[in-house]
Amino acid sequence: MTLLFGIPIQALFGQLLLGLINGAFYAMLSLGLALIFGLLNIINFTHGAQYMMGAFVAWLVLGHAGLGYWAALLLAPLLVGALGILIERTMLSRLYKLDHLYGLLLTFGLALVIEGGFRQLYGISGAPYAVPEELQGGWNLGFMYLPIYRGWVVLASLFLCLGTWLLIEKTKLGSYLRAATENPQLVQAFGVNVPVLVTLTYGFGVALAAIAGVLAAPIYSVNPLMGSNIIIVVFAVVVIGGMGSILGAIVTGFMLGLLEGLTKVFYPEAASTVIFVVMAIVLMIKPQGLFGKGS
């Protein structure tokens, strides 16, 4: 067996692939977060709770309406996104003129309420959610056995990230969005309805979180705290990538997934901390983030 840093190279490949899968989740979640921050200037602490709600929608529609995975993949973003729009209209929209710390605090409070509510209703143990039949089984890659479902997650995530990026960089709607980020008054003057744009952006960002939640449901059990465990890491990803940078969020998400995968081989206890070390270093050296525009 070939060794690299004392680790069999096959094992290393396996770990990198797993890191990529985790990275897919980080990318999807941080993408939504970055999008929201870019336009609304709000750090959406509720993002983790919305991801959790996505997973719960999948589980609930299966139990109550008999709707399977694919229906959930469509329904969850619509429902959770609609709830997000409601939150934006009734609460967040009152905070745009204030320091963005208030947005952070409000969404933190919302996250507590949502998670507490789900805990109250469904307990903590979590509910199992089966992998859809079409995606069961796995491929033997030689160096590891890759469950088809995990492969699907990476593909779906890449597709979503790429799609969102193209939407923002290459379409007319995207150009309004970018313009509104720079100078909302001017864009408003050109006849674009900026408040609606803002609301829809929030809804879209939240919908992305919900999709990630549905994708996560068969891998981790559906559980009220699944979001609060991941949200802090996703924050770090957004900060490292550069707040509000779409491309930064995507690339950093995957990169940090890989880094975390490597850490799990060499120093597993530190796997959950390494991202924060990177965040501290990046903030010290290049505070606008790896992909952020000059501050």
Partner: protein, 321 residues
């Protein structure tokens, strides 16, 4: 009993002084009606919130990592008292010194950033310290340091007596609050407020802004450490919960609820939150839900917090809170 903290200067009784005096008397009589441990927990968190508020309210820096000072000081105090046999006052001093040193290092790096970046840097450091707390053998990981002896204060006051312990905590708390009051009303405090309100102007006036910020950060860290150290003596325990980022979030809640930038606000907020946790502990998740709702209401409706709301009302009657 330590009585240094009580103002007995012979001056006219302004309404404000009367209020403070009434509160003090209330605090002295409280353990006869209310369970002392609950009061001490409240006082420790009130001091923690006051320390945090020194940074947020007077320098405008929101730290999302203050739990590292609170928690690490409590570890060091617990370790010093239990393993090295330090007396309580020395153990607490050791905790405070640790928090101050930690504050100096992290503050020196963190104050180069402001706003949300400052919050994120402090969060990053506190996550790293959390990692240290899990890994370092002396913290005993998930078990924490348990069975910390309360010992004898100055060699002759037996802190195992709940009331003696309470009056000690109260004395430290009052002294610290006076100290904070002193800081914010001093010329140093005025400069801090100037930096908060208009940093470029403060710089142009020739103030070395970074040094002021760093000093405020270290003071805040040390006071947060004092709160954590006392908590570990009161509960005879230092645990991971106090280093976790949830504790950092909780202190934000307390300060915001009570009123950012007010002297008594954080105390009010801390007691409210501790009371919610204490009296609703049987209901499980409802504590979380209620805390969340309070957060939302604070941000949407009364951003100045309870003290911020009451303050103007009192002011009309000539009482300055």
């Amino acid at each position: 009993m330590n009585q240094k903290a009580i103002p007995v200067r012979n001056r006219a009784m302004t309404p404000q002084r009367l209020l403070v005096l009434a509160l003090l008397l209330l605090a002295l009589a409280a353990p006869f009606g209310i369970y002392p441990i609950f009061l001490m927990k409240g006082l420790c968190f009130a001091l923690f919130a006051a320390a945090f508020n020194l940074l947020l309210g007077y320098v405008g820096l929101l730290s999302f990592g203050h739990a590292m000072f609170f928690g690490f000081a409590s570890y060091v105090t617990a370790h010093a008292a239990k393993e090295w046999g330090f007396s309580p006052e020395l153990a607490i001093l050791a905790g405070v010194a640790t928090a101050a040193a930690l504050g100096l290092v992290t503050g020196w790096l963190a104050i180069r950033r402001s706003g949300i970046y400052f919050a994120m840097v402090t969060l990053a450091f506190s996550q790293m310290m959390f990692f240290v707390a899990i890994q370092a053998p002396f913290t005993h990981g998930e078990d924490g340091i348990q069975g910390v002896p309360r010992g004898h204060l100055l060699g002759f006051i037996d802190l195992n007596d709940s009331l003696a312990m309470y009056y000690f905590v109260l004395a430290v708390f009052v002294a610290s609050l006076l100290f904070i009051h002193r800081i914010v009303t001093s010329p140093f405090g005025q400069v801090l407020k100037a930096i908060r309100d208009n940093e470029p102007r403060a710089i142009s006036l020739g103030y070395e802004v970074e040094r002021y910020k760093l000093l405020a950060f270290v003071l805040s860290a040390a006071l947060a450490g004092l709160a954590g150290s006392m908590k570990s003596v009161v509960f005879q325990l230092a645990s991971l919960a106090d280093v976790h980022w949830h504790a950092s979030g909780e202190v934000v809640l307390m300060t915001l609820l009570g009123g950012v930038g007010t002297v008594f606000g954080p105390t009010v907020g801390a007691f409210l939150v501790v009371a919610i946790q204490n009296y609703l502990s049987e209901t499980g998740s409802w504590v979380t839900i209620i805390q969340g709702v309070i957060f939302i209401l604070c941000v949407l409706m009364f951003r100045r917090g309870m003290a911020g709301m009451l303050g103007p009302m009192m002011k009309k009657r000539g009482i300055d809170v």
